[in-house]
Symmetry: C3
């Protein structure tokens, strides 16, 4: 029987060191509220760095940060590369698809080699849920807790920096989370963003978190994550303060789970009309890249309630905060 | 009816800011002589930097320069990467072919995202004429005149840094342009280099600019660009001071426009014999990469009149000058 | 008749300048013992840099180092990139497979262009034996002895930094080489690593160097390299101090030279049982990436006698030493 990777029990969560400090960022699940708040507060202070004339601080100077993207994502890799360079780190992008793993080397042999080259941090993206955990546990086993792992997205499991930047964005616009209603809309079943968002929002005590989507695109027993389920978009959006639209993966569109992109848009696409059901000052978020006309109408995406580009700006600050905290600054 | 992109009227040219200073480098066409001269003069001062033991100046320190090469060109990307690094910028190469655009994101969504990451400059290469204009106009529309665009080659339209470095080279070897005869030879129809060269040379008051090539490879009404047309190579080269050979794109060679590479070489290839028709001190230029034995004989390419490699050296200095001027130094 | 590239006579060896100093690192063959010792001693001093909090020294600041990998190798490229960045150089990775060479430009035209951009150093990997020699001789011919070449592996010819790091590793663990017995095991015929190891070890006066492998995977007249030949693994390992296992290239496994990977492992794979024939304190080396279960058993690869990961660490220091010496520090 399939046991989802996101059910890894907290006591095996290797994210914290013996003093309870963040040693790896693998998942929002299992992180205490204090650590999330510390990251968000630190990000605030980095937001200003990207506005400077010289966008650079020397906090990671002389550190070697490796981008290990086993699954290709130019945009996410770029955000980590920028964040690391603004911290003055040496960044090495490994085109892992074409490297030694292709020559039959195991993932952990690759890691051992990079550790032997004195790597300080791995930013890992992998199609398999749990790959960053595997690496973190291996580092623990070989006694190298001075090398840090940041999960940049693993399978359907987690995308913790996205969860953090989304929370940062909400906190930025809405201040107090306790009275908010936040709707996460779309393909929650396949979305690591949704899972990380939901964990971050519930940990920080958000008033109500809603999961809105068709039955076929919601995980079984999703209620156990602390969300209220809606299959009807209008009901799900009613009186919301925040709407997080998820990207519909192209590969789902012609599959068995969905009739067609057009029909999806008719039922779950965010339009000015459905947006009007939310509160008048509701904000609209999207992790990008957007499928305009599939999950979101261009009028909404470019409208005054959208905060999709500020999310990107906050994302750099959040990643600088995470890297800086892990490196012990 | 097809209206060539290079007929964008000057009053819509978004290259200059309200004070008449260079804000983007999109095309030589539409730039006043003073700005061209200012770039060339600035390049002179950067030439010395690449000769230093420590080839670095801090003018772009902490700036984020994005190489957006929608059309692959390792060589041109490398020249911009070197120029930016010698100015101490953080350079991020985006492998755009494999990025979000492939996931259905629009060009302007990609730009908006990078602007949200606090990009300072985009170096753009695109197979479509006008793509860098589109980006510059978008930046103007969203009020971000602090973000700059450098056109690194767009379709058949323009390759302005090549036009500038070619002009720099001519000025370096021949000083005064007003009495010179310059022949541009080859496939002018498909060449953005030719268009940028011709605009730069005529703007700077070159004595005579000649367009030399077969009828099928010259634009209709090319005379309107201020050139004298020759279909015969010998006549076109006679008494020239400067010969700019164009690269014959491989894809033209077996097409309807040309009988064969061999026949092209016989009619339009530069050999010691045809070179002898030009002035004794004529210089030979080529934007590279050369097709030896197609548009140019190896004896000429490696001969004493060739200044093809100095063009490359000057190209770095010109790109440093452009980036530095755009960044406001 | 085929004349192996590694028979290039020493008097044509362009590695040394007129004062006998290292100007290029192309091959261990032809280098005097003093230079090898100087590189190893310099590497010692760089080992400490990678252990610092700020892993950076300014020795190559403002220098432009080009990684020219005509043959793909993410791992080797990464080691040179890290080494150069820790020396503060500007590193430019050229994806040569997709560059101008693909547009018909010759190798030396590419080199001429990069020299014109003020390159300081080329790190070259090429499938053809002798390619880095060709580049070095060209640089000599054009009078540019200030530009340096490091061979990062050429065909079956040489991989000198691997030879140096292997020697460094042996010296680190065993101090004096004169009384040692070192076995090089596997596909020596196709291995540039083996050739560089053997040259380094014999030049430094190693007691006995053994070449162990099947007749079909040993070069003709391998004894002339100063090694003792063994076809039987047990005999070859008996009383050894050092065992260097070679990677079996996948492409050999199903060819005419070898019956199967399984049979190879049975005859030449290093297992705890065969390792026991060597001295009790023998060390086990491998250039990586390993084929576990083909040339080496996992129990040995991960065992207490393996020094495979220290090899990687020393490799960074050795490459920093080579680059620093070439740059004249």
């Amino acid at each position: 029987m399939h046991k989802p990777a996101w059910h890894i029990p907290p006591h095996r969560n290797p994210q914290l060191n013996a003093r309870g400090e963040l040693n790896h960022l693998l998942s929002i699940d299992g992180l205490p509220r204090e650590i999330l708040t510390h990251i968000l507060d630190t990000a605030s202070s980095f937001l200003e760095v990207s506005d400077r004339d010289v966008k650079k601080v020397p906090l990671l100077r002389g550190k070697s940060v490796f981008n290990l993207f086993f699954e290709n994502s130019t945009r996410t890799r770029t955000t980590f590369e920028i964040a690391a360079k603004r911290l003055s780190a040496d960044v090495i992008n490994l085109d892992v698809g074409r490297s030694s793993t292709a020559k039959g080397e195991t993932l952990l042999d690759t890691i051992d080699n990079l550790v032997a080259m004195h790597a300080d941090m791995f930013v890992v993206r992998h199609a398999a849920s749990g790959a960053p955990y595997l690496i973190a546990e291996h580092l623990h086993r070989i006694g190298r807790s001075d090398v840090h792992v940041v999960n940049a997205g693993d399978g359907r499991h987690a995308h913790p920096t996205q969860g953090l930047l989304d929370t940062y964005t909400i906190r930025h616009y809405k201040k107090d989370l306790t009275n908010l209603t936040v709707a996460v809309v779309g393909d929650i079943l396949h979305s690591r963003v949704a899972r990380s968002d939901i964990h971050a929002l519930t940990t920080l005590g958000t008033g109500e978190v809603r999961a809105v989507g068709p039955q076929t695109l919601l995980p079984v027993a999703v209620e156990k994550m602390g969300v209220r389920v809606f299959h009807d978009l209008s009901e799900g959006l009613r009186d919301c303060d925040v709407i997080i639209m998820l990207r519909l993966q192209n590969e789902r569109m012609n599959g068995a789970l969905l009739p067609s992109a057009r029909e999806y848009f008719d039922c779950y696409g965010l339009t000015p009309k459905t947006l009007a059901l939310a509160k008048a000052d509701a904000i609209v978020m999207h992790p990008g890249p957007m499928n305009r006309g599939v999950e979101i109408d261009s009028e909404v995406a470019d409208g005054s309630q959208a905060v999709i580009l500020p999310q990107v700006t906050f994302g750099i600050a959040v990643r600088m905060a995470v890297m800086s905290i892990l490196a012990g600054n």
